[in-house]
């Protein structure tokens, strides 16, 4: 059972607003990720973290920023939302892995963001 939570599930917001998408996990995982997915498209990695105070940009350029002050919490912020930010945002976490240890990522339910 995955214990990773995202809030809100759905968000409709006006252009120019600042938003923060929350992601929390209770599994003690060091690695956390943010993916962005448009309908029918692949999951694009936009941010990842290997632990507290560690954040890196993913493969897809994003205007969002992240922080990792606590192991369990990995919020994503958009300072000024635009219609082009409309998408589904998926948070995930995983163990470090190595050897035969399972390192599958567990996903939250996602946040469907619509900027109008």
């Amino acid at each position: 059972e995955a214990d990773i939570y995202q809030t809100p599930r759905y968000l409709v917001i006006g252009t120019g607003k600042k938003i923060t998408l929350e992601c929390s996990q209770t599994m003690g995982h060091d690695k956390m990720y943010w993916y962005q997915q448009d309908p029918g498209m692949e999951l694009h990695l936009i941010h990842y973290s290997y632990g507290v105070n560690s954040t890196e940009k993913g493969d897809l350029s994003s205007e969002s920023t992240v922080s990792r002050i606590r192991t369990e919490h990995f919020p994503l912020t958009l300072e000024s939302a635009r219609p082009s930010h409309t998408s589904q945002y998926l948070c995930a976490s995983s163990e470090w892995g190595g050897g035969e240890m399972n390192t599958e990522a567990f996903f939250g339910q996602g946040t469907r963001l619509t900027v109008v």
Binding site: K31, G40, M41, E42, D59, L90, A92, T103, E104, F107
Partner: protein
């Protein structure tokens, strides 16, 4: 440059028959491969994985095959059931790399018809 490729965007299979979903990768550093299932408006759920030291892993109706020389893996679902209709994502990572991250393909939409 896509490191994980799923070249079939959709697949339709009759209930009870075998579903075969394919995936190719380009990065030879990948040593761990995963399949996820996703319903609309939900997060992906993990299905099955395989380490590069194996060429087959089975879990109930799901079997993943890995061909390292061809950099190809496939997911077999047999028998296919209506509840299997979803989008399936292939993913890969290099677990022992300090820069490891999980890279996903573009997904294949599987439809199981009665």
């Amino acid at each position: 440059d896509q490191q994980v490729k799923q070249n079939s965007p959709s697949l339709s299979v009759q209930e009870g028959r075998i579903s075969i979903l394919n995936c190719d990768y380009t990065n030879s550093m990948f040593d761990y491969f995963l399949w996820y299932k996703k319903y609309p408006a939900e997060g992906p759920t993990f299905l099955i994985s395989i380490s590069s030291i194996k060429d087959k892993n089975e879990d109930g109706r799901f079997t993943v095959f890995l061909n390292k020389s061809a950099k190809h893996l496939s997911l077999h679902i047999v028998p296919s059931q209506p509840g299997d209709s979803a989008v399936y994502f292939c993913a890969a990572s290099a677990r022992d790399s300090s820069a490891s991250k999980i890279i996903f393909g573009s997904g294949t939409r599987l439809s199981i018809r009665p």
